[in-house]
């Protein structure tokens, strides 16, 4: 019965209710990927520059 009430509550308005955990996960992955790739580029660039400085 409680499952039926929950189901009715979630579809009753015709709008998906809640779902913020999916939203946070998606934004975290997007921003995390941009940050991590930026960091990897920075580290790779620094390594190349250090190698160039060596005789």
């Amino acid at each position: 019965m409680s499952a039926l009430v929950l189901a009715a509550a979630s579809v009753g308005s015709g709008q998906i209710s809640d779902g913020w955990e999916y939203v946070w996960a998606a934004w975290a992955i997007a921003y995390g990927a941009i940050g991590l790739y930026g960091l990897s580029l920075y580290l790779r660039t620094r390594t190349v520059r250090n190698e160039e400085k060596q005789p």
Binding site: Q15, V23, A26, I29, Y31, V48
Partner: protein, 460 residues
Amino acid sequence: MRKVLGVGLPVVGVGMLAVGAWLGLKWAQPEQYMGDVQRIMYVHVPAVWMALLAMVLNFVSSVRRLMDRKPLLFVGGALGLLAVVAGVGYQLAVVSPANARVERREIPPRDGTPAFGTLNPRLTLVAWTGMPCGGCAGLTGTLQHLEEIYRGKLRVEYRVLPGAQPAAAGALLAAHAQGKFAALHEAMAAETGPLDAPALERVASAAGLNVPAWQAALSQRPFAQGLEADAAQAAGLGISSAPALFLNGRPLAGPAQIATLRVAADDELALQDRGAVVKYLVGMGLVAALLSALGAFIRTDAQADALAEASAEVGVLFGAVGVLLGAIWAKPTWGVWWDWDPRLTSAAILLVAYSGYLALRKFVDDTERRAVWSAVVAIISFVDVPIIYYSVRWWRSLHQVQSTPKDVAPDMVVALRWNSFAFLVFLVLFTWRRYELSRAQLESEQLAPPDVPAAAEVKA
């Protein structure tokens, strides 16, 4: 300048991402059906767009790597010109004569009129009805059947002709307020006697209307303005009797039967498809010319190869993020993380193809071979990019069709555009930085001394 950009672009990008997060997570309103889950769109769509842009850059660089600048400009320009000439020729020889034989009338849209079907139709059927109406029996059922056949393409709108019995016209629009327009229309059409007040009440009751509410609406006449607008439109179009049907403004002669309506609808869709061929040809021509001009800006083969590698890696990054975010969005909306739907499948193929491209570059040591082989692989892989874009239009897809600013709420447009530009800053920054790494790697490979020959070779 480079130093300023090197510091300025990340600062601007991070600032734009911060504002974009506020716009997407706080400022934009929840979507009517998807609620807050829709907020995933503000990062999913920009990520996919950046991936496709990066792949376009990869394609241009790869073609440039295989062709020198002048031949590239010549071939691109010639292809572009050929496509534009073919498009214009097709328009003049086929499309314009076909359109010229069709008479069309301008029928302005009217708010609040009884209507059903898609909101973005290729076919709009305006049906004038009213009482008395000799050929109106079964009309609403026929039009509902037609909408089922052309689902997603057709919108049906009714207009009411006051005619000889204005009370009946008002009764129909009052019934529309209860969602009973079709029911009352069919009940009226079946009535053989005059539609006086007692007959209207009897018919309304038989059609399942809330009669007191319907009578209240009839006395208050909230529909009066709409009825006058319909009457004015009918006079302008020269309509004197019902039913009168117009498909995309084209008057339909003969009885409103499903077979004749289908012939007209198919003809109309064929006309539009022919017009779309012209748009594709001219569009392809302009794109070919634009891309070849873009490619001609890349001066050396080494630059082209480095830019191809950089754009592929950045494209795979944004593509992987886009696909992952799409899966997260799919779970609460479709109920599954993944579906082998045309859009998702073609996006997955893109990721596999460009990951293979990057792997190929790691396996080949010879710089010339690596550049040529990978350029060929990139050009073949690029075939998937337009397939991804058009997959939702070409095939029945679970994935929604691309939205345009006209289709979505203004706050969504602002949040989506802002986040797209924020991602674009990072696309430019990442591609530039990765390009410099590739150039440095290429230069070190070219400067490196050749491999020391094996002892056996030295002896020989």
